[in-house]
């Protein structure tokens, strides 16, 4: 943790007060504080509001529409009306459904981050999990629900782990950068999915040849719904699996030797190696665990509410990439990722499906999510950038003074 404290330690005592903010920002950011993520989100929403205003809409009305669309206004029901015939309750259940996925794809980015790896392959690992879960869900029709669901989830998590493990293995053995290899693996997963579900593909169903798609998951592999109409995409028990994954993430990182080693490699791989940690092995393990989270996300989606996936869906699916923003905003911690996933879940659902189209044109609003997502990633990157600029300015100043004196 020593290098974490360096920015504040470097601050000379004669620093003028105006610099305080930037330095404190740096301390807060490195300490995993709340200030920066909250500030980041607020700034992103403000900027989003300006764009909404520029399109001639009232930003407050739009955000209110998104808030309602996400079902957050449900908490104002006194007594709480849990009947999902009510639109607010339905919207909230759908937001939570999206949150489930986002928690897991967020963890898939957060875990390798702690090991100093940037996993951009969440989308590919998610798709692999989705495909495997679909195959298990379509097959074994005679199985009872519990083993069938568990098999689907387990197989998908394993497949995701293997998929991400390839990138970890390449990094460990050849030094191939994980950013490049995970992006490549995304494309292999996308094209592989298109082949498997596509025209004449091995997993294509036989009853709808007009729009090539996968088979439908049989009833016994459906994760039971506990809130809402099971026929109309109610909320299933998958969300508890996602919450359990948050706990597992925290436990692995903070209460196991593996987690200690992963964090040590994340802080400084050379130092970790000097300390006797097998760095290469940690790379493979971190990526595999990350892939298991993403694969699990795919399984919960497939067995929870999708049940079927078309070729066009393989191309259109983007949710794995949103995991990057979730992890960054959540500061790669368990609690942070959970909260960020809920925020993005609400935003994603509230700007698209849930949004009352008469409040704000949904084709515009859908882009608002992408924009806020982009801004958050930008700002999270930018606070590091601001610090960098600030530090280099301090280094430059004495040189300038010397130059001025010479002239």
């Amino acid at each position: 943790m020593s290098e974490q404290a360096t920015p504040s330690a470097n601050v000379p005592p004669e620093q003028e007060p105006s610099t305080d903010f930037v330095v404190r920002l740096g301390v807060a950011q490195r300490a995993g504080g709340l200030v920066v993520p909250v500030l980041t989100a607020v700034l992103a929403f403000l900027a989003g509001g300006i764009v909404v205003a520029a399109t001639g809409h009232n930003p407050l009305t739009a955000y209110r529409g998104i808030w309602d669309g996400a079902g957050f206004n449900w908490i104002f029901h006194i007594p709480w009306n849990t009947n999902t015939v009510n639109l607010d309750a339905f919207n909230l259940s759908q937001t939570l459904l999206t949150t489930t996925t986002l928690i897991l794809v967020g963890l898939a980015v957060a875990f390798p981050f702690r090991c100093g790896l940037f996993n951009i392959g969440g989308q590919g690992q998610y798709l692999v999990g989705l495909i495997v879960a679909n195959w298990v869900g379509v097959s074994f029709a005679s199985w009872p629900t519990l083993p069938h669901v568990l098999l689907g989830i387990g197989a998908a998590a394993f497949a995701g782990a293997a998929w991400a493990g390839i990138a970890g293995f390449l990094k460990a053995t050849t030094g191939a950068h994980e950013v490049i290899s995970t992006i490549m693996l995304n494309w292999i997963a996308i094209w592989g999915g298109q082949y498997l579900f596509g025209q004449g593909g091995p997993l294509q169903n036989t009853y709808n040849t007009a729009a090539p798609e996968s088979g439908t998951v049989v009833q016994s592999a459906h994760i039971p719904v506990f809130w809402g109409n099971p026929v109309l995409q109610g909320l299933d028990y998958g969300i508890f699996v996602a919450i359990a994954a948050l706990v597992v993430f925290w436990l692995i990182l903070n209460r196991t030797t593996l987690g200690y080693e992963v964090r040590a490699v994340g802080f400084n791989p050379e130092a970790a190696a000097y300390g006797g940690i097998n760095v290469r092995r940690k790379y493979i393990q971190a990526m595999a665990i990350s892939g298991a989270f993403a694969g699990l996300a795919g399984a919960l989606d497939m067995l929870g509410y999708l049940f079927q996936f078309g070729v066009l869906d393989v191309q259109a699916s983007q949710i794995g990439f949103l995991g990057i923003a979730v992890a960054l905003l959540g500061r790669n911690t368990a609690v942070g990722t959970g909260i960020a996933a809920f925020l993005f879940g609400g935003l994603l659902y509230g700007t698209t499906r849930g949004l009352n189209p008469s409040v704000f044109d949904p084709s515009l609003a859908g882009n608002l999510t992408s924009m806020i997502q982009g801004l958050i990633v930008l700002f999270v990157g930018a606070d590091v950038f601001v610090l960098y600029i600030w530090n280099s300015r301090r280094k430059l100043r004495p040189r300038r003074r010397a130059e001025a004196a010479a002239a």
């Binding site: 025209q199 079927q308 869906d313």
Partner: protein, 357 residues
Amino acid sequence: MKKSLLVAAAVALLAGLVLAGSGTAAPAKAHATFTAALVSDIGKFNDKGFNEGQLAGLKRAGKQLGIKTLEIQSNSSSDYLPNLTTMVREGANIVSAAGYLLAPTLSTVASQFPNVDFTITDDSVKGADFAKAKSVKNIEGLVYASNQSGCLVGYLAGEMAKAKGGKQVIGAVGGIEIPAVDDYIVGYNYCAKLADPGVKVLVGYSQDFVAQDKCKTVAQDQIGQGSQVEFQVAGGCGIGALNAAAGAGIWGIGVDVDQYSLAKNVLTSALKRIDVGIFTADKQAKSGQFKGGSDLLFDMKNNGVGVGKISPKVPKGFITKMNQLKAKLISGKVKVPVAKGSDLLGLLPGAHVGPTH
């Protein structure tokens, strides 16, 4: 100290919630105004074609019928169900699903909301897509006689090939060999031979509706065999066929919407007027004439299908002859065949199965 601050904050938050809550306490939606809704497929509303056309129909219904309209975009297939149900919960009286991709979801949703009317564009409620549905009594299919628009463009293609002389060959590039695609091609083939009995019609399938390069390959293969005109029936993939035609200096023909400006050398386009379907269904539903469980036919007679912009290089005489044929289609003197298994069988008067080439 810290604890008391927390408590104070919590109290303030709760107070805020209660205050805000009082403002939103009336979620009940008024059903006083008639509301029509449209749910896009994953092509989205800015697709310059299928979805955008239907949205135009909905907007027109809103203006001309004085009804409230709602539209919602699907970004993935997991959006279909929440989108359809959200439209119902927002108080829509009629909800239109933009295309057969929504068919399985629509049959689920429609059975849960028996008091709401639903339509599906370019699909028959009696077809395979609804074979597994428990009931379709509140769903209306909007079916287009695409064989008739295929006929008119085929007639022009035949005339152009005949005028050019030499080897009499024209081609069609389909996405997948399904009735929705083959209806166009059967009409194209039939009427090309009305114009030019000696013409040979080549038919190929790209097995894709998206990847342009696949359609380009199929088209280039046909051009290599002497094709003078290439008719694309493969959605976005078919743009590749139009480009191949433009590259070889021969004619291309667009499909579904007016694709005149999408490539050079576009002769014309075979149109489905999907906006007309939405408008008509909304109008029906408003006046209580909605007929669930049946299909609504859109053909040449009610202007539901037609041809797009025709290249100014086409001789006036050809267009006159084509319009004469159009009149015969409307009067029923000429009966264009349809594809095997077509939704149009039993719906379009005199529909009978014909070959694609």
